[in-house]
Structures are given as C-alpha cells and as structure tokens.
C-alpha cells in the first residue's frame, strides 16, 4: 500500500509547528524590551494557521497518510476555532503576562505546541495519532502550569496535573490496547467496521471501553475524574488556566466523538449508561460544590466540571442531533470561558491577582462596562437568555429529551438552578455591593477591544445563534463519521 501523502490535510499543523520553531529561535535574538515582536509573530502564526484551516476545508471527507489523519470539515472547523481561542486568549492576557514576567517566548511557544497537540487530536483518525496529539498537548500544558516556578501552589498544581495526567494516559492506552486486541486494528474506521461485523470479542471490547471512557472523562474533567481540575485552575497563572480551559476542551470533544461515537459506536448502548452516570454526577457535584468557593478560579473550575456534565448529556444521545448539540455546547463554553478568565486578568494588576470573588465587589461603580461584560459571562454560564449559554443548554436538553431521557433533562435543569445561585452571587457582588478596591482598571487597548468583542459575541450569538448552530450541523454532516 502506498502511503497517501497529502500535505494539505495537515497544512495547519505544519504552519503551527514551523511557526513554533521560528518563534522559539527568533525570540532568542529579541531584546527583553521588544518581546512584543514575538507576540505579534505568534499572532501571525495563529492567523496563518486559522487561514490554512479554512482554506483546506472541503465538503468531501477523506483521510491521509494511510488513514492516520482525517481531512474533513469537522476537523478544519475545530482547528480554526482552536486557533481563534488561543489567539483571543493571548490577546486578553497580554497585560497580565507583561506584569508577571510571563510575556516571554516560552509562553508563546508552549501555547503553540498545545495548539499543535490540540490540532493533531482533532484531525486524528487512528488511535496512534490520537494518543500522540493527546500527549503533545498534555506535556505542553504541564510545562505551562509550572511556568511560575517560584510559586509553590503552581508547582503543586503542575505536579498533581502531571501525575494524574500520566495515570489517565496509561489507563487510556490500556483501553486502546484492549480494543486493538479485539479488533486487530488501530484505525478508527476499521475498528468501527470490525464492530459492525460482529466478529470481535465483546468481553474484551467492553473491558477496553471502560478504560477508554475513564481516560476521556479525565481529559474532560468529569466527576469522578475531576480531582485535578480545581487545583490546576487555581494554581496555574490565569493565562495558563485560560489556555487549559478552552481549546483542549474542543479537542476532548473530537477525541470522544472519534473514539466513542465512531470507533466504538457499535457499543453505544454500553457507553451511554456510563456517560449518564458521569454526566449526572458532574452536573450535580460541580454545581453544588461551586457554591462553597470563595476563589473565582476555583468556582470557574467547578463550573467547568458542571458544564462538561451538560455537554456529556448532549453527547450521550448517541445520534447526530446529540453530537451536534454537544459540539455547540463546547464551542459556546469555550467562547464564554475565554471571556471569564479574560475578566479575571483584566482586574488583576501588579502584585494583585483578582482571583477572589470579593475582588469583583462594586465593579459596576468602578466600571459599568466591564461589570456588564462580566454580567453577560455569568448569565451565559448560567444559561439565561439572551446569551449563547442559553442555546447551549437548550440544544443539549433537546437532545436528551429527544433520546428519551426526560428525567435526566429535569435533573440537569434542577442542577443548573443550583448553578444559577453562584453565578448570581457574582452579579450581586458587582452590582449591589460597594467597591473595596478603587484602583482604576487599566489594560492595553487591544486587550480591552478583544475582550469587549468576546463579551458582545456572547450576546450576539445569544440573539442570533443560527450561524453557529448551522456550522455545527454542517461540519458534522460533512465529516463522514456518522
């Protein structure tokens, strides 16, 4: 078999890889005062990669390199969105990084490598490439958490993340090896075919499935594999939290789609049950525990756990409607997340991390505009119209009800009622309390502009969600996966 070399399928990855190496080298020759050269270079790389993702988009799905990578609309769309998320994240965190000595080539290079791992995961159509992408992404993330090497809590977070991450990778790999043993292939499509043929040993497959689901749950941070999430979110510098909490979630979704939805799609009845448990536990536990938090980063961490539970609720419908609902949910969540951490960074300044809920007190009196932006973020996370978060919740609930899980939908909305309580508390602090901190809010104009755009996007997509909903449906329909 001749290897089907098709570089256009991996053009965005090539751009990011070359760009990362270039930034790494050029940064060595850039004076400390001119770091913005590296920054803009990184942004150019991201722009180029985003463009490459769009340019290589095609309606007809195909694979390249002997089935190692997929070249389909879903992959290209999500690659594009990952680029956008990373780019937005770097923009909104610029001032934050400058003040904390994180405005360095290493930050940008690690962000690009995370993105590269994310992209490889997104495009992978073989267990090997999936795993490669996952490890590349994870290693870059471990390093990013540990970037603040003088901070004890960051080191602790990095250690926890690394140990648990390594364990989860091991578990995942073990599960994959079982599937390989049962089907004799590592190719997603071939595994699916073998399963459909009915020749594979079901016991071994189920055994492998349990491990695979565990590995995925760890990446998503679903209960009971969530232990790392609050510590890492809290311990890492906020810019890293942002990069961990956004684009990798997109990758985790595709990862789940290809492993469970496609490769092990024949076992959907089995993994559906597991996902119900994960989803329900995540929604309830995440929302309840978030109430007790006084640190906004930890609160957002638990909120992310709950949100992943919601996403799983859409996914477990195990039909195209559910997959597209889950995809929309992830995209909406990423959009909201970038803005939420962006707001935390906006309020931070030299020697002051605005990571306590108290730090948001009286924000409306300090700056009505930013209070409004945070209001949008909070109501989007709570799923109140007219924000994009409402349609995210709406689509997954629709998918669950459609699949016959009305009780799960009711449990979900009740847990989101609990969730509304702590999101409302932030709004209360901003609007009803008097400020304790009267420092003016100071950030670079580009950070402010991007954050404003991001915040308004929550409102715009909340009023007109059709474009984004349509993209999810079309991308999945042309992915050839379902």
């Amino acid at each position: 078999m001749t290897p089907d070399v098709n570089f256009s399928a991996i053009a965005p990855e090539i751009v990011v890889l070359c760009g990362a190496c270039a930034v790494l080298l050029i940064d060595l020759f850039v004076a400390e005062t001119r770091r913005h050269v590296s920054f803009w270079l990184t942004q150019i790389v991201l722009l180029a990669a985003a463009w490459a993702s769009l340019a290589s988009m095609q309606a007809q799905p195909s694979t390249a390199f002997s089935g190692m990578v997929a070249d389909d609309m879903l992959a290209d769309t999500l690659k594009f969105m990952s680029c956008v998320a990373v780019s937005l994240g770097l923009f909104v965190s610029r001032s934050y990084c400058v003040v904390r000595g994180l405005f360095r080539g290493e930050t940008f290079v690690l962000a690009l490598f995370t993105l590269l791992g994310t992209m490889v995961m997104i495009a992978a159509s073989s267990f090997v490439t999936l795993y490669l992408g996952l490890e590349l992404q994870a290693l870059a993330l471990y390093a990013m958490v540990a970037m603040h090497r003088k901070s004890n809590i960051a080191s602790e977070a990095a250690m926890k993340y690394f140990v648990l991450g390594a364990l989860a990778s091991g578990i995942l790999l073990y599960g994959m090896s079982m599937v390989y043993g049962a089907t004799g292939s590592l190719d997603v499509a071939v595994v699916a075919r073998e399963l459909a043929g009915g020749g594979a040993n079901r016991l071994i497959l189920l055994f492998g499935l349990v491990f695979v689901v565990s590995g995925i749950a760890f990446k998503l941070g679903a209960v009971p594999y969530h232990m790392w999430v609050p510590d890492v979110y809290d311990g890492a510098p906020t810019v890293m939290t942002l990069l961990i909490g956004t684009a990798p979630k997109l990758a985790a979704y595709v990862f789940m789609l290809r492993l469970l939805g496609v490769a092990l799609g024949g076992l959907w009845l089995d993994w559906q049950g597991m996902l119900i448990v994960l989803s329900l536990l995540s929604m309830v536990f995440g929302n309840v525990v978030a109430i007790a938090q006084t640190n906004i980063k930890r609160m957002l961490a638990y909120s992310s756990i709950a949100n992943m539970g919601f996403m799983l609720m859409g996914f477990l419908a195990a039909n195209p409607n559910g997959y597209s609902a889950a995809l929309f949910y992830v995209i909406a969540y990423v959009l909201t997340s970038v803005a939420s951490f962006g707001m935390v960074m906006l309020l931070s300044r030299e020697g002051f991390e605005a990571d306590q809920l108290e730090d948001f007190k009286g924000l409306n009196q300090r700056s009505p505009w930013w209070a409004f932006m945070m209001l949008l973020v909070m109501f989007s996370l709570a799923g109140i119209p007219p924000t994009v978060g409402f349609y995210a919740k709406f689509t997954v609930i629709q998918a669950a009800v459609d699949a016959g899980f009305v009780w799960l939908a009711v449990a979900a909305v009740l847990s989101s009622l609990v969730g509304a309580f702590y999101y409302l508390r932030v709004v209360k602090l901003m609007y009803f309390d008097d400020p304790t901190d009267t420092e003016p809010i100071d950030a670079r104009a580009d950070s402010r502009a991007i954050l404003t755009m991001n915040g308004l996007a929550l409102l715009v997509f909340g009023v007109l969600p059709q474009p984004l909903l349509g993209v999810c449906v079309v991308a999945l329909a042309h992915s050839g996966l379902l």
């Binding site: 009505p368 119209p385 509304a420």
Partner: protein, 489 residues
C-alpha cells in the same frame, strides 16, 4: 407597520441609549431620554387597540420571520384580545414608572431607567410571542433587569429578596423549558398555536401541566409558592413594586390562558379542583394574612396574591364569564395595585418608613393625596363603579353558577378586601396627627398629582364603562373556550 416589533424594540433601544449617554453627572438627560422613550413606546402600542378587529379570535398584527431554522424557531409575534390589553397596560405602566422615579431616584439614574425600559420591551415580547422559544427568551431575560432593580435600588434586605425572586422564578421556568422541548419533540414545531392541536395522552398532559403550572403559579403567585412576592415587593423600589404587581404577575396569569388551558385541556379539567382549591386558599387565607400586616407594602403584596387567586379561580371555572372576569381582574389589578404602590411610594419618599404605625392623620396635611388614596383603596376593596368591582363580580357570578358555596367562599374577598384595605386607610390617613413627621408633610406636587390622577381616571373609566375592555376580549375568550372544550385524548 410592525407595531408589535416597535412595542418591543422601541423601549429596548431607548434603554440602551439611556445607558450609553447617561452618567450620574447629567442625570437630567437620562431622565428625558427615558421619558421620550416610554412615551414613544406607549404611542406605538395605541394602534394595536385602534385597529383591533373585535370580530375575530385569530391572532392580529402578526409578524413572522425565520429565526433559528435548526430548530424551526420563528420570530413570530401576534396578539389577540387576551394579550393586546396587557401590552398596552405594560407600556403605560412603564411611562408611569419613569414618571414616578423622576426626582426620587438620584443614584445611577441611567441604569435605573434603562433597566425599566429594557424590561418593558422584554415584557411586551413575552405577551406577543407566538413561538415557544421566543416567549421563553423574553420570559427569562426579563428576570435580569428586575434582579438588578431590586438588588441595586431596594431596601435593606434587598439582596436576599432579589436572589429569592430570581431563583424562585427560574425554578419554574426551567421546567417550562423542558416542557416546551418535549412538546417540540412531539409536534416538530415551537409554534404555540400548533401546540393547541397536538394530541396528548392524559399522563403526558398531567406531567406537562405540573411543569407549566410550577412556572406560572410561581409567577402569579399562588399559595404556597408565593413567599418570594412579599419579600420582593417590600424591598423593591417603588417602580419595581409597580411593575412587579401590575405586570409581572400578569405574565403568570397570561401563561395560564395562553399555554395551560388550550394546550393541556384535559389535564386542566382533570386538575381544576386542585387549582380552584389553591385559589380559594389564596383568596381567603392570604386575605387574613394581609389583615395583620404592619408594613403597608407587605399588606398590598398580600392583597395582590389574594386578588390574583381570584384570577386563577375565574380561569378554571371554564366559562366565558369566569375567564372574562379573570382577565378584567388582571387589567384592573394592574391599575389598582400599581396605584396603591405609587401611593405608598409618595408617602415613603417623604417619611422613609412604610410602617402603618408611623402614620396617622395624614389627611390633615395631605388632603389631595388622601382623596386619591381613598379612591384606590375603594377600588382595591372592589367598590362598584371602580375597576376592581367588575372583574370580581363576573368571577363570583361564574362561581355561583358552578356551585353556590364556591361563589360564597370567593365572595369573602369582598369583605376581607374591604377590611384590610380600609382598616389600613383609616389608620394611616385618619385620626389625630400622629407625630411631628406627619405634621411636616407636604401635599402631592404637580408631578405626583398628574401621575396619580391619570391612573385614577383609568380606574374610574374601567369601573363605570367596562364594555370596551370586555368587547375586545370577548371573541378571543370564546375561541379559547372552544379549545378548552375540545379533548385532546
């Protein structure tokens, strides 16, 4: 002309404009833009009444455009005789609220005005939406401004009241959303009017009834899910209380006639005894609770619950008389409760207390005000020739037709209402001048005079000549009854 779209978007755009220009420095500008916005907002709703065709039960002024094709959701607006008056009522109350806040609100004026204007647009949207998700979006989005109004400009316990208000209402509305989605999956559409024709088994209807009922009964509010209302009313600023009592409660009542009765007719019949019982408890028990209140706003809040119990009672008698009575009562209560809260606001602005015990002999210093309040108190007690009488009379008539004792129990509202309202009036207005603060009171100024006067005219008009109101409703009520009578099993 797309009058309904204008009714929704004019106030919202005006609200955004106020936010954009209004700083605390130039509060005057914010006030004037709000006033213009609310006047225009009211003017664009007037053609709804002038051009209303009373001979048809069909939706009028319909606007329809594709909004979210992925789920077949439309931007679909329209009003019938039931919702048209509520849109007008809401636009009018917004103007009055802007008026009432003119000199009273001094901090963050722009945000205060903008919150009311935006909320007004959202409420008009909820009353005129004919698509489930469009309705839901407006229905839930309107919580945000009210949450901020209560929490920012409210009394000492405002945060508790605001959060309680939000979470209570959200609980109901989330179940409503699941119900809507279920209906969508059955009927493949979010068009509310299509749902009227979807066959549903009784089990399903009962489950949906529970979901819908929780949502709307919290909003009405019915006993025993009413506890958020006294808190919210007491803590909210005057404008917030006015809108809460006059408009937001009506959305609950509107939900019953727009959703529960026609979509779930069999469940509504099946569970009517349950709803009627709750309504009567609200009328009688909450009436007694109102009697013992020491705080005027709390008393009016409980009186609202009691009066709204009358509305739900009228709806679940399934007769034209009862339905029309309930609807007229909603409109009338919109005027009367708003006026009562405005009166308390007028006194509160001068005395900074709402306790009945702190007043006495107000008539000596504020004779004009006492005359206005007398009228509104009488209307609240249901005196003939005021708007309060018409609705109550119709509902009692309908109740007696069903069962004499039902009508008899319901009629206690006349006695209880008179008791708690007039007793409060006596203690506050009559008697010797109670203290120096009362002695120092000044009578209503010109702004307050015209504000109370315009509501007083409406109360009298509706009491003396209710025909125009009932004519508008009649055909739509007949149409609704036809839906309710048709079994969906």
């Amino acid at each position: 002309m797309p009058y309904l779209s204008l009714a929704i978007w004019v106030p919202i755009v005006a609200g955004l404009a106020v936010l954009a220009v209004g700083r605390d420095r130039d509060a005057g500008l914010a006030r004037w833009i709000s006033l213009i916005g609310s006047v225009v907002g009211l003017l664009v709703t007037l053609p709804l009444w002038l051009h209303f065709d009373t001979s048809t039960a069909e939706m009028q002024f319909v606007e329809q455009a594709e909004w979210i094709p992925r789920f077949d959701i439309h931007y679909h607006l329209g009003v019938d005789g039931i919702s048209m008056l509520l849109v007008l009522l809401n636009s009018l109350m917004t103007l009055i609220v802007v008026w009432s806040a003119w000199e009273v609100i001094q901090v963050r004026v722009a945000q205060y005005m903008a919150a009311f204007l935006i909320q007004s647009g959202l409420i008009n949207g909820a009353f005129s939406a004919l698509d489930g998700i469009l309705f839901y979006s407006f229905f839930e989005a309107m919580l945000i401004p009210m949450y901020i109004i209560i929490g920012s400009w409210g009394g000492p316990n405002r945060v508790y009241a605001a959060v309680k208000f939000f979470l209570y209402t959200l609980l109901g509305s989330l179940l409503l959303l699941v119900g809507f989605i279920y209906l969508y999956n059955v009927s493949e559409t979010f068009a509310i009017l299509e749902w009227y024709r979807v066959p549903l088994s009784l089990d399903v209807q009962v489950l949906l009834f529970i979901a819908f009922f929780l949502s709307f009964s919290v909003k009405v509010p019915m006993w025993p899910v009413h506890t958020w209302l006294p808190d919210a009313h007491v803590e909210a600023p005057t404008g917030g209380s006015v809108i809460l009592a006059a408009i937001t409660l009506k959305i609950g009542g509107y939900g019953f006639v727009r959703f529960i009765l026609p979509i779930l007719p069999d469940a509504a019949h099946y569970l009517s005894g349950f709803v009627i019982t709750l309504s009567l408890i609200a009328v009688v028990y909450i009436g007694f609770v109102a009697l013992v209140q020491a705080d005027m706003k709390k008393l009016i809040a409980y009186s609202s619950i009691s009066h709204m119990g009358f509305v739900t009672l009228g709806f679940f008698l399934f007769s034209a008389l009862g339905l029309e009575g309930g609807l007229v009562q909603m409109i009338s209560h919109g005027f009367v409760s708003a006026a009562m809260f405005l009166c308390v606001g007028v006194m509160y602005d001068r005395m900074h207390t709402r306790l009945i015990a702190d007043y006495g002999g107000v008539v000596n210093t504020m004779p004009k005000f006492a005359a206005f309040m007398m009228l509104f108190a009488m209307a609240n007690a249901g005196l003939p020739a005021t708007s309060g009488f018409v609705g109550e009379f119709l509902v009692i008539l309908a109740a007696v037709k069903v069962n004499f004792w039902l009508g008899f129990t319901a009629a206690t509202i006349m006695i209880l209402g008179a008791a708690y309202t007039l007793w409060m009036y006596k203690r506050v207005i009559y008697g010797e001048v109670a203290n120096d603060h009362v002695r120092a009171l000044s009578d209503v100024n010109r702004r307050e005079f015209w504000m109370l006067g315009s509501v007083a005219l409406l109360v009298l008009w509706m009491g003396v000549w209710p025909r125009p109101f009932i004519d508008v409703m009649h055909t739509s009520v007949e149409g609704l009854l036809a839906h309710v009578a048709k079994s969906k099993l």
